[in-house]
């Protein structure tokens, strides 16, 4: 028996005046519940780079997209079609952000498959997978590493860039920049360095900046030498010289190395 699946396409529209959108998700109600397929969402796993790659504003909105991923999951728990339709109606009235722009119907024939297969098919046809830059792939992996090491859940861990002003022994003001910081009696400073998709000149500049921060952090006694951590990746043979240079001022860890979360844990909580 042929059944039909009524679906809605969700677009990400950044500028309501231009109203140019990119398809990011497909929603449908079938068999007494909601269904969805969304960019970067695979079950309960979210790969933020897929949404971040849409634009620079999208890159800054990854936390909000994570909330949307949670919302999509909740939509699949909606049991009443009235609630599903109300949610879609609200998305239709959105001028910008995630907007329900188009809808359609596909037939689910005996030979074709079930709602899940139809959703997979629609998602493949309607939502183009974006190209992920090495910098975004690094950010994805870094997020996983911080969660697996469990420091992301520590109350004294700052997941955003931190700038610390210190005064050195000679009375000069010193500015320390960390990509992440664990505060407390013995602070732990982190910095990051992307090695792929950037020029050698960029890497050299970053190495200088990071080395300077870690040296000054130790010199001003803000951080102990063993608490300076550089998270980088991917490390290749051609990066040996850079790594040798940085190893003198920080513990260098490759975020793409499977053992890195465990090594971070040991550095942060040596007695556990």
């Amino acid at each position: 028996m042929a059944l039909s699946l009524h679906f809605h396409v969700l677009q990400y529209i950044e500028d309501p005046y231009l109203a140019e959108g990119r398809n990011v998700a497909v929603l449908a109600y079938h068999g007494g519940r909601g269904h969805f397929r969304a960019l970067g969402v695979d079950g309960y796993k979210l790969t933020p780079s897929h949404f971040k790659s849409l634009s620079s504003k999208a890159r800054d909105s990854s936390w909000a997209y994570r909330e949307w991923a949670e919302w999509f999951h909740s939509l699949s728990n909606v049991r009443e079609i009235e609630q599903f339709n109300e949610a879609v109606n609200r998305l239709e009235s959105n001028g910008a952000g995630l907007v329900a722009t188009t809808e359609g119907v596909v037939e689910l024939t005996d030979g074709y498959g079930d709602a899940d297969e139809a959703m997979d098919f629609l998602f493949r046809r309607l939502v183009r997978a974006p190209k992920i830059s090495p910098a975004l792939a690094f950010e994805d992996r870094l997020e996983v590493v911080l969660m697996q090491s469990e420091i992301a859940y520590a109350e004294n861990f700052s997941d955003e860039m931190v700038v610390v002003e210190m005064v050195s022994e000679d009375g000069n003001e010193v500015t320390l920049e960390f990509s992440h910081l664990m505060t407390g009696d013995r602070p732990i400073g982190f910095n990051t360095l992307v090695m792929q998709g950037v020029t050698q000149r960029y890497i050299s500049r970053q190495v200088q900046r990071i080395s300077s921060t870690f040296r000054n952090a130790v010199r001003t006694e803000f951080i102990r030498p063993e608490h300076c951590i550089l998270l980088c990746g991917k490390l290749e043979d051609k990066h040996q010289e850079i790594i040798a240079q940085l190893s003198g001022v920080a513990t260098v860890l490759d975020v793409f190395d499977e053992s890195t979360p465990q090594r971070i844990r040991r550095l942060v909580w040596p007695r556990s």
Binding site: Y12, E14, S55, K57, A58, D60, S61, W63, A64, Y65, R66, E67, W68, A69, E70, W71, S74, L75, N77, V78, Q83, E86, A87, R90, N94, A96, G97, L98, D159
Partner: protein
């Protein structure tokens, strides 16, 4: 107060001042009076003034003027490119659990202003622990919008009538927190309620007299709140 309002643009040129201020624009939803909701602007504005007086978590907004006259601009919540989604029914329990105090505050506030249409009009961050966001929005069906006729709305608010028959956080809020918010609202000075409701001038269709009558009704309603909650405990409160 934790919040995240969407910045649309930041102008590069700094203004003079030791704090290096820059001008910027925020995204907002403009709301107007209409045939279906003829007192929307006034009700939104007064709901905001009351909420800010008592510290109820609702989205900020401002009165502004467009070609059609005065309008209410409700500031959007989210990040620069993406506003947060409105809560879905399967998320109500989780939101009430993560933001227990805020949820209790919204329940009592909605009963106080007679807002029977809370529905999904809530923005909350549920998976971003470092950025807690919990705010209600959309109050056009409270205050003068309880009934089609504003005088009927005022009359109903002054009675011992729950008005809010359904609410996303009913049965998800503990009695102790609800009592705390009931106490807080019951103790507001009448003069404060009058200040929130009375704009000293008509606002669109809302006369000065109507504003004063609304304030009188709310002064009665705040005293009725303990009774309204205790006589509807089974529908409003969660089980311990």
């Amino acid at each position: 107060m934790n919040s995240s309002y969407k910045i649309r643009s930041i102008r590069k040129k700094s203004l003079p001042g030791v704090t290096s201020p820059v001008s910027c624009s925020l995204d907002a939803i403009l709301k107007f009076d209409s045939a279906e909701s003829p007192y929307c602007v006034y009700s939104e504005l007064v709901a905001l003034r009351l909420a800010q007086t008592i510290h109820i978590p609702i989205a900020s907004g401002v009165l502004t003027t467009t070609g059609g006259g005065e309008a209410y601009a409700s500031i959007e919540i989210g990040s620069p490119g993406l506003r947060l989604p409105d809560l879905l029914p399967p998320q109500f329990a989780n939101a009430a659990s993560q933001y227990a105090n805020g949820a209790a505050a919204l329940v009592v506030f909605d009963i106080f202003i007679g807002n029977w249409d809370r529905g999904s009009n809530i923005k909350a961050s549920l998976v971003t622990p470092h950025l807690p966001v919990f705010q209600g929005f959309d109050h056009e069906h409270g205050l003068l919008g309880v009934e089609a006729d504003p005088l009927d709305s005022i009359h109903r608010l002054a009675q011992s009538d729950l008005i809010v028959r359904n609410h996303p956080f009913y049965k998800h809020v503990p009695g102790a927190l609800v009592t705390k918010w009931v106490d807080r609202i019951s103790l507001i000075d009448d003069a404060m309620i009058h200040e929130c409701c009375e704009l000293k001038r008509p606002l669109r269709e809302v006369s000065i007299d109507m504003q004063s009558k609304l304030a009188d009704a709310l002064c009665k309603r705040k005293l009725n709140l303990p009774h309204l909650i205790s006589s509807n405990m089974m529908s409003v409160l969660s089980w311990p």
